[in-house]
Subunit: 676 residues, 2 copies
């Protein structure tokens, strides 16, 4: 948070306010070459698991079912096309970064907006768990020795992500772009090499090509259901597509056009990778099963990990699992998946700030710059992800059951909102039916498609674990409604009304004196400077020896403010102090009493545990007392230099909001206690 002009000399300048130099701000926004990897790591990384899960579900019905794979994959691609086209419209109509939530909220009402919001909250947790689980899968595929530490590894990665985000790291740094580009490039290379080998008749053969599964005699209904389930799992390729619609403010001008361009490019790459990987998997006959020991012909199924489809393809195409390219593919896949998990840590505060703005989440989330608020969010997200990873033993196939519901709830309501938006535009006469017909058609198609998929996903996944999502979403929904109602109630309570009159009189001040130390003298100094009508120093005595010493020092230093000693039989400070204040008011009539309390300012979080506990307690008690105001007189301890000199660290989600991340330049602050 830049302390904008520490060198502004004129007060007038400040009263008017310095205009924000737009070009300068723009330079800090994302160029397309950085926007693509930042927003695309989530959707592109799903290529690492979507084809695998699609094939896995089909394999449940026997290997013959794999012949349906191209059709299922084609349906996923069609859906991806429709969704990308729909979001192109959405980005244009609502470029403020509110995304599906804003569209649903504005067009379909509060309830729809909150459903989207709760779906997205669930989704952020699932993005972390699924991406980390898949990332660990790919690491284990390269280093099978880690097989037994699957859950531990996943937990370690989440803890790492939490640490990185607590510490603060700019997503816009170039280091974040590298893995995404590396992933795109290496997987494309794999597809091209694989394609060439196929063209030359030298078909790559996967290590699991020889394994078979028990053939099953499925009824027609069962086959359709299995196809639908496979499609539903394949749809995990669509997760993350919505990210750009939340990040339009972060793009450089022309924002909308750049965002749309990035969206289309991302969609194009995603389709190429998804189709390429699925095709290669079919050609090289990867056989991947939910239960490894259902693979007939594989002796080590119980002890060896089943390699991910990505790993099997890389080994098959590049000639074994000892080649450099095999490790490059696995490293790139794992990195891009961890990057995708990281996006949730950035997206979560972004959604929080939008919800806070509308009064559905604590107002504290709205403001920038509160590291504490963000920290809590980061920790909460991390904990939830860890719980899920431990409970589901980092099993990708099981976790993915919980994943897609939220995404498609948000897709469907967002697109439905867009349909309503277009109708509203026409009705209000802002535009003719002709000019919006194309947008309306696209979003209507999107709404119908995503609604259908939502139904399919719900029906096929509900009993496989997705019920949990349907249990949690209403809880989040109600929580947000309650927060909103609470704020409304408080708003009414605080409204200025003609009955409540203000007109206090009387001015009494107290300096709370513990021991004779510099902070006490500073508080006394400030209280004297404020020239109150009457000023007392009050000491609550819990230890006679200490009190005697204080009185002696007081006399020696010749302080003109009278020192009143109050006995504290129960060793508390606030009780006798409050009694003193009440007694004073009884005697001198109602008056506003200002209590001066020294407050230590420290530099490290752990120092807070060691200071101010008593002062805080006394403050809380005093604030309950009628006619009292508490004046905190800061005392900067030496360690506070780390705050005043610290460079600003980026907060999660800052990049996506289009906020500048730059170091704060402060002038060094004078230490306390020095003379004015």
């Amino acid at each position: 948070m830049p302390l904008v002009t520490t060198d502004a000399r004129s007060p007038k300048r400040w009263l008017i306010g310095e205009p924000l130099p737009t070009e300068k701000l723009d330079a800090q926004l994302l160029p397309k070459r950085l926007a693509l990897p930042i927003f695309a790591s989530d959707p592109l990384s799903s290529v690492a698991y979507a084809p695998q899960e699609l094939l896995l579900i089909l394999t449940l019905g026997g290997l013959t079912m794999l012949s349906f794979a191209p059709w299922v994959a084609a349906a996923v691609v069609l859906l991806l096309l429709v969704v990308v086209a729909s979001y192109r419209q959405l980005v244009k109509a609502y470029p403020s970064g509110g995304g599906d939530y804003e569209v649903a909220h504005r067009n379909l009402g509060e309830k729809a907006g909150l459903v989207v919001a709760s779906a997205l909250l669930v989704d952020y947790v699932m993005t972390v768990t699924v991406s980390v689980a898949s990332g660990v899968d790919n690491i284990i595929s390269a280093i099978p020795e880690l097989h037994s530490a699957r859950v531990e590894l996943a937990v370690v990665f989440v803890v790492l992500l939490v640490a990185v985000n607590l510490r603060g790291v700019a997503e816009s740094s170039k280091a974040f772009a590298l893995p995404t580009y590396l992933f795109i490039a290496s997987v494309l290379l794999m597809i091209v090499v694989g394609g060439i080998r196929v063209a030359l008749g030298d078909l790559p053969v996967a290590e699991s090509a020889a394994y078979t599964v028990e053939a099953k005699d499925l009824s027609q209904v069962a086959i359709v259901l299995l196809l639908l389930r496979a499609f539903a799992s394949g749809c995990s390729a669509l997760t993350g597509v919505e990210a750009i619609s939340n990040g339009v403010p972060a793009f450089r001008t022309p924002k909308i056009r750049n965002a749309q361009w990035t969206l289309v490019l991302m969609g194009g790459i995603a389709i190429v990778l998804f189709v390429g990987v699925t095709a290669l998997a079919l050609v090289s006959r990867v056989h991947y099963s939910e239960d490894p020991c259902a693979l007939i012909g594989w002796a080590d199924c119980a002890t060896e990990p089943q390699r991910s489809v990505m790993a099997q393809l890389a080994a098959a195409v590049f000639g074994g699992d000892a080649t450099i390219m095999f490790f490059v593919i696995q490293a790139a896949t794992a990195s891009v998946l961890l990057l995708a998990a990281n996006t949730a840590f950035n997206g979560f505060p972004l959604l929080g700030s939008v919800l806070a703005r509308d009064g559905y989440a604590p107002k504290g989330l709205q403001a920038r710059g509160d590291r504490l608020v963000f920290s809590n969010g980061v920790i909460a997200l991390g904990l939830l992800a860890i719980v899920l990873l431990v409970v589901y033993q980092a099993n990708l196939t099981q976790l993915i059951q919980l994943y897609i519901i939220g995404v498609f709830v948000s897709f469907t309501l967002g697109q439905a909102g867009m349909v309503k938006h277009w109708i509203g535009v026409v009705r209000s006469g802002e535009a003719s039916m002709r000019s919006v017909v194309w947008g309306l058609a696209i979003n209507a198609t999107g709404a119908v498609f995503t609604a259908t998929v939502l139904m399919i996903v719900t029906v096929t996944k509900f009993t496989h674990g997705a019920w949990l999502v349907f249990a949690i979403m209403p809880v989040l929904y109600l929580l947000m409604v309650r927060v909103n109602r609470y704020y409304a109630k408080i708003e009414r309570e605080l409204e200025v009304d003609p009955v409540t009159k203000f007109g206090s009189r009387g001015d009494h001040a107290i300096v709370l004196v513990g021991r004779m130390q510099k902070p006490t003298l500073k508080a006394l100094d400030y209280a004297i400077a404020a020239r109150h009508d009457s000023l007392d120093a009050v000491h609550c005595s819990v230890d006679d020896a200490a009190t005697d010493l204080l009185e002696k020092q007081w006399a020696e230093m010749n302080i003109r403010v009278p020192l009143r000693v109050v006995q504290s039989p129960y060793r508390g400070i606030s009780e006798p102090l409050i009694a003193y204040i009440r007694a004073h008011r009884e005697k001198y009539g109602p008056e506003v009493t200002t209590v001066y309390i020294p407050q230590y300012i420290v530099g490290h979080w752990w120092e807070r545990l060691l200071h101010n506990q008593k002062a805080r307690r006394i403050r809380h008690k005093l604030m309950l007392e009628h006619g009292v105001t508490v004046a905190l007189v800061p005392w900067l301890l030496g360690s506070s230099a780390v705050i005043t000199d610290r460079k600003a660290r980026p907060l999660p989600g800052q990049v996506r909001r289009g906020e500048p991340v730059k170091p704060v330049v402060r002038r060094p602050l004078p230490r306390s206690g020095h003379k004015n």
Copy 2:
């Protein structure tokens, strides 16, 4: 926390302080009939596991080793006698409640004190885990269906204990005494009935009497080692004996004599129960093994839980596991164990306050009445216990390996300190050698015995898991040293010195105005009442419409304080405000600036998440600014009534410190905004 006299009318009375009526305080202290169960639940409950662990270790060497059991048990009883006698001395010499820590600290120096402190901290965690694990064992023995939920059950109990202690519950309530008396009575009854049956020749037969274990041919060295290990595990009967030495202030006068009497009574009961249970177990031939499937003859070892020794005895003596007495014994055992776990939650803050007093722990722990500080301690203790229970799968035998080290470190250093104490007493000439020779002899014996046991325990348990304790204790030790050094450094930093001069001049006040609401008007009202030299209302404009509305309302209400509008280009509040203050100081010279900020007072913890975040952030920024003091003007929201009307809830450890626990009688506070 009694707000002592809300009805005191005379200020003079308060200045002098009301003397504490000693008899009244004494009435709130613990009578012996309550002190016994409160302090004895921990040591007596160890009867539930000490004999079992003793027999279990012997059984490792084959059933023939059980013939040594009487001798091992006799050694434990002898040790118990010595330790009780030693503590009788300690209680008399150091009745302040500091226990072993104080004795070691005063006589052997800081380092010894801190070693004791870190040992005790570890011990509190282990008291919770071991007691809960044993409690769950006994519940499962009565209801074998719960076998598969062992860890979950243990975790639930810890969570329950945490909840109860967060909520606040007076240990002195009679409900806490019941389980201990029930446990003593029912186990005594079991021993008596068992004894009568033995006398009548109708030997009770345990359900595991028929099982054997593989006989082993042990070398003499192995036998000795096994005996020592059995002795070490049996010594868990001694855990908790030290509790009374920490709780002397809680006893009624004559405190020392009452505490000593309770100690001796407790020791006597513990010996009777320990000997009785061990003897019964041998007579009825309970065969208890670390690995249930090492029991030859037991077919269901893999699926059925191995019943605790307590349960097997109850079933054998009272005629089966469907009798009422069987369930009474199990219920009493489980209850007293959970009560013992609860004592750790009370002992922990007690030790914390003593450490804080000496500057080795955050000062915040010293003061009574801060629920937040205690809450953190309770939660930390609960979390650590849960982690251990999960990691060790609530396995009593494994957990007990970590337990006794801490206790005996504390015993040994405490007794060694006492020896030094007696020598010091003689040297200083306070007493003659003859008068202290008895005490010296007892404590010297105690020191030698406990040191020997400490060595045995360390040697026999180190590789069985106790290394962990030796890894954690130094960390705690260093932490405490660091805290101490930190406070010393700060003390020097805060010392009044001749160089730092105070003498600020100038009095400028600012009321921070957001929207036109009642809290703003109250802050303004108080600022006017304080009659500062100059007073401005400052509004940081982030939204032109809102600013226009405010200016209109300001004019309409005809407020005489000038409203200065400051533009906030980056939407922050503190930056433009600070710039305004700096500009004002540039223009008018150095001055003390009082910034009035409304502060919401809320009633529920969750409301804090919804309020004051922005105000807090602004306050923190302002406090870094030179010459600024922040005046918080409280606004009591309706919900704050729950604080002002709330009865005081007891804090963990309050009873043991001898602090009165009684409801606060407050006069109802007027709501904010009413006229003075």
